[in-house]
Symmetry: C2
Subunit: 243 residues, 2 copies
DNA sequence: AAGTGGTCTAGACCACGGA
DNA sequence: CCGTGGTCTAGACCACTTC
């Protein structure tokens, strides 16, 4: 492409933005292949190398994945809770995926903390989505996600029940939002009476609290999740880095 | 470079390996600039683009950093504990770096867990390095790192006292080892009597336990750290992703 | 065999940092 | 101003997947 504008934003980032825009319009479904690199390059008037670098950005962000010789595909949406795994403590080698189960939706008012996390005013309406976490067959924790109601006016129990409230997918498919994790915080806390009851915990057993904040591609906070985990039998493994 | 070998390993990875070898020989000091990309490319008989990709790998691993217009530099060694920050709970925006203070070295025998984490036999001699963690002025936690004695025969209190036991730096400078974090696990636990005493904790207050395993560039486990954190006033933030 | 991602080159130009 | 990293191109070839 012949340059005709000041390169304040590199071409490959502009190209990445344009491909992202097409993704947000659901031009391709989950798992579907994009046009090949040369085709995309031609469509967006850049060289293959530049388009490749643009796709690198989207692959890095987890939106796309590649298979050599086969193509570039739209990645499946993993719910941020579901990406992690749990390790049985008796033998650290045994890892299991964490699964979740949608159990409730409520409209509440933002308390001080949520107002600060989500950059809204205190008292603003926010959705509160409650899910149970399981590992193997046993109850592992409780996750509560908060989203500003203003950005998700059409959220409903029906929408959440489809796909078992995979929030990442719902944000992508229904609202054109691609979420990335910006910050995580961990604490050890003693559970409240409510949590003890829901999670069938013994008295005096501490819980792992995990707070995560997710942003959209513009850097605006969109989701804040508070997860309470019963780490008697399993530890929480946010990632395992392969060699 | 004219190709003359089967490309089982891409050229840019070969180049990265060779630059890594030079780093391991301490050819350049921490903070020092490497030769520029063209110079390095010439030295290793590849094009600038390929050398750039090789350096990308090392930058990605945190071994090097770049400053546009200035050069490519050897990164400072951050101890894996020190990389994280802590957030004051009253206002999640306030972040502070965690600092550590070396307090002890002992030679112990690997228990079942350490044997499994470090891939050594049970009872093998391992170093146990103890450090206190502080945030602001207050005591925040206790870190115990375990390393197989066989790989670090010359470890000594004197060595650890220099540089306040920055294990990443010691491994790099004194043993030519570049460590990367492979796995992390979190749990909430009640502290033992020892830990309560050392960390001046109140009774009945839970602790955040963080276990990390570090590998060398060959993928062998080298270090296992167990960190106990008092998360009454501060939460533990492993990272904050910038936009 | 055809089509895809993955690597590599040589050469060009841009944007930033420091003297 | 020069030297550095950062971007971009056009064209080539390799390695893998799919048919």
């Amino acid at each position: 492409m012949i340059k005709n504008k000041p390169h304040s934003v590199p071409l490959y980032r502009q190209a990445a933005q344009r491909v992202l825009a097409r993704l947000q319009k659901n031009e391709w479904q989950e798992g579907e292949a994009l046009p090949n690199e040369f085709e995309l390059a031609t469509q967006h008037q850049v060289s293959q190398g530049t388009m490749r670098k643009a796709l690198d950005v989207l692959v890095e962000e987890g939106l796309l994945f590649r298979r050599q010789g086969a193509g570039t595909f739209v990645a499946a949406c993993l719910d941020s809770v579901g990406e992690a795994s749990a390790a049985l403590l008796v033998d650290s080698a045994v890892k299991e995926k964490i699964r979740f189960e949608y159990i409730g939706l409520a409209k509440v008012h933002a308390n001080e903390q949520m107002a600060s996390e989500l950059a809204v005013r205190r008292g603003c309406p926010v959705w509160q989505i409650t899910r149970l976490l399981r590992v193997g067959g046993s109850l592992f924790g409780l996750d509560q996600a908060f989203l500003p109601e203003a950005r998700f006016p059409e959220l409903s129990m029906k929408l959440l029940r489809q796909d078992n409230a995979n929030l990442t997918r719902i944000c992508r498919i229904n609202f054109g939002l691609y979420l990335t994790e910006r910050e995580v915080r961990y604490r050890a806390v003693m559970p409240g009476i409510e949590e003890i009851k829901i999670l069938q915990a013994d008295n005096g057993v501490p819980f792992l609290e995990r707070i995560r904040v997710m942003h959209d591609t513009e850097g605006q906070p969109v989701l804040c999740g508070i997860t309470m985990l019963k780490t008697n039998d399993f530890a929480f493994c946010p990632y395992i880095r392969n060699i």
